[in-house]
């Protein structure tokens, strides 16, 4: 009994201390599973794809564009709008010593192959990065903070299982009549149903940052010399140079021929990208990535020599020899979910949101219980009110802020110089206002009124998203439904679903408020 008491205490505080950060990580990390889709919505200049992608006709145009833009590039990459990717896009890498060294990219029209001038946007990648790089603080510090929060999460998960002797029985219990226990039951439901996901995502998240947080371990094996450690790191994580150029220029086969060659070898597979290493070199190697049907890798990959189309076999990779490294890659793939098709991707997303819900309901439940205890003991409950106010600003405020980020992206001028920065600032400005709102002095302030106000704001923000899309672009529901562009349909439609959920919350809160007012009136009579 005493042990369970300690564990209950630990569970409560481990979850609560980093509650806000964990909530942010769960929400933005979940959004990250749709980063490409979000970015695509935020770049409305790309026209709706009106017919299925015609690779043999359009690939030469992409290659031509690359030759025109990047004659000296050493690596090039062509992404095709297949599978999850909504992009027909070219990327090139200029080596040092050439104008504009580094990676560059251009978006092409998936119907015509013509270049599209897209606006700069922080896109879905910003939300994805927010869940572990955070913002406004150095990367290294963010890694430590998010790792620490994840460590607290891990402890909260383990102790959560320990304190639930009747974990499965509790799971099937939902007592909605009693307010306090309803919150606890909801917390249990969202904690237990996706428990394997929560464990996996937390532990794998920690492992992905281990070279920041557990640096003493490699130092214990290889010494403190940073150069030596860097070397070990590079050996572990290099993809292995598949081919080295010999510096002799040679004309390669057109990429479309390699596309057709690979297509005839693997009929039925969908080619998602082509990449060339040592472009224009005699030893150039073309990598053809196809959407994987099974397994954890997102792509099945084949390699060809660019000059003659013969198969090319790269060196065997380190991960095939090291058990630890294959484990690491499994963990990485599981966390990132790049292999997930549409259904599994939605499951990932919803499991992540349930993680956010678990943190949120836990924190709400704590505040309710504390308030009861304080009122019973006749203690000053100002500190509890503080937590309650923070709960409103964090739990309801963050979704408003993210919605505000989407709207800002559309409302800012497409040519504004620092628009990417302002998009990102907008999220924090809106969130700051939402965090402040419960603390504003007012005559009479009921907690449920604050919740209702914020969810009302969230409902308005999300309901307006499809309409703002309609007003500001040609990629609105009218077009996307007509041409069955499910990426765009999905974004607008999910915004409406969120708006409906928030409106439902408002309705519930108001309903309960009416009931409690009636009860009070009844008692006083």
């Amino acid at each position: 009994m005493k042990f369970r008491h300690s564990m209950t205490w630990l569970h409560t505080w481990a979850g609560l201390v980093f509650g806000a950060l964990l909530y942010l990580m769960f929400v933005t990390g979940s959004a990250g599973y749709f980063d490409l889709e979000i970015t695509r919505w935020m770049q409305p200049e790309i026209p709706v794809q009106q017919s299925s992608f015609d690779a043999p006709a359009l690939l030469p145009k992409a290659e031509q564009r690359l030759q025109q833009l990047a004659p000296h590039a050493d690596h090039v990459y062509i992404e095709l709008p297949e599978g999850r990717s909504p992009y027909f896009m070219i990327w090139w890498h200029n080596p040092k010593g050439v104008d504009n060294p580094g990676w560059h990219s251009e978006v092409l029209d998936p119907s015509s192959g013509a270049p599209v001038a897209v606006r700069n946007t922080a896109g879905g990648e910003f939300l994805y990065r927010l869940h572990y790089v955070l913002h406004y603080i150095p990367k290294g510090l963010a890694y430590w903070l998010t790792s620490l929060a994840a460590m607290f999460m891990l402890v909260a998960i383990v102790t959560g299982v320990v304190i639930h002797r009747r974990i499965f029985k509790d799971f099937f219990t939902f007592r909605r009549s009693h307010r306090q226990t309803a919150w606890l039951d909801m917390h249990n439901l969202m904690g237990v149903l996706p428990l394997p996901f929560h464990l996996m995502i937390t532990y794998s998240g920690l492992i992905l940052l281990m070279f920041s947080t557990m640096l003493p371990v490699p130092a214990s094996s290889f010494g403190l010399n940073p150069e030596k450690l860097r070397q070990v790191y590079d050996t572990v994580f290099s993809d292995g140079d598949h081919a080295r150029g010999n510096g002799m220029a040679a004309s390669s086969l057109p990429l479309v021929e390699l596309y057709n060659l690979d297509h005839s070898k693997h009929s039925g597979a969908t080619i998602a990208y082509l990449a060339v290493e040592n472009w224009g070199d005699e030893k150039a190697v073309v990598e053809v990535g196809k959407l994987a049907q099974t397994g954890l890798e997102p792509f099945d990959v084949s390699y060809y020599q660019a000059v003659n189309g013969e198969s090319f076999k790269g060196e065997s990779q380190l991960r095939d020899r090291f058990l630890s490294l294959s484990f690491y890659h499994v963990i990485e793939h599981l966390h990132e979910g790049l292999f997930a098709g549409p259904w599994l991707r939605w499951l990932y997303f919803l499991s992540g949101l349930m993680g956010a819900g678990m943190v949120a309901t836990g924190s709400i439940f704590w505040a309710i219980k504390r308030r009861h205890a304080h009122e019973k003991a006749g203690l000053d409950s100002r500190a509890v009110r503080w937590v309650e106010n923070l709960n409103v600003g964090v739990i309801a405020g963050l979704p408003i802020a993210i919605g505000g980020y989407f709207l800002t992206s559309r409302l800012l001028s497409a040519t504004l110089e620092n628009r990417v920065d302002w998009e990102m600032h907008s999220l924090f400005v809106v969130w700051f206002v939402a965090l402040l709102h419960p603390f504003l002095p007012r005559r009479q302030c009921d907690l449920s009124q604050l919740w209702a106000e914020q969810f009302k704001a969230a409902a308005v923000v999300y309901a307006s998203i499809p309409f703002v899309n309609w007003m500001t672009s040609e990629v609105h529901l009218g077009m996307s439904l007509k041409y069955q562009d499910w990426t765009l349909v999905g974004f607008d439609f999910f915004a409406l679903v969120l708006a409906a959920c928030c409106a439902y919350f408002v309705h519930k809160i108001n309903g309960r408020q009416r009931v409690s007012t009636m009860e009070t009136v009844g008692v006083s009579q």
Partner: protein, 90 residues
């Protein structure tokens, strides 16, 4: 849970700092002891650190007294460090 504030502060320190030290020391020993390629063994140990860390943190609050909690972290850390030193430098 009725525990004095000083006990809670001490246990929190044990969980966060002591747990981190223990997790690392265990990983040092494991990386040196596993009969694998050195890089392989190190990576394996690194990936297990968080498991040690979680167990250590839970121990810090499960132990009867704060002092026992610290002892239960420091002693195995010392032993692990000794094993590491013996395997690595002797």
């Amino acid at each position: 849970m009725r525990k004095s504030p000083s006990s809670i502060v001490s246990r929190t320190g044990a969980a966060i700092v002591g747990g981190y030290v223990l997790a690392n020391c265990m990983a040092f020993a494991l990386a040196a002891a596993l009969p694998l390629h050195q890089i392989d063994a190190t990576l394996m140990a690194m990936q297990l650190t968080y498991l040690f860390y979680a167990v250590a943190a839970i121990w810090a609050f499960a132990a009867n007294r704060a002092r026992t909690a610290w002892l239960g972290l420091v002693a195995p850390s010392g032993i692990a460090l000794l094993i590491w030193a013996l395997l690595r430098f002797v």
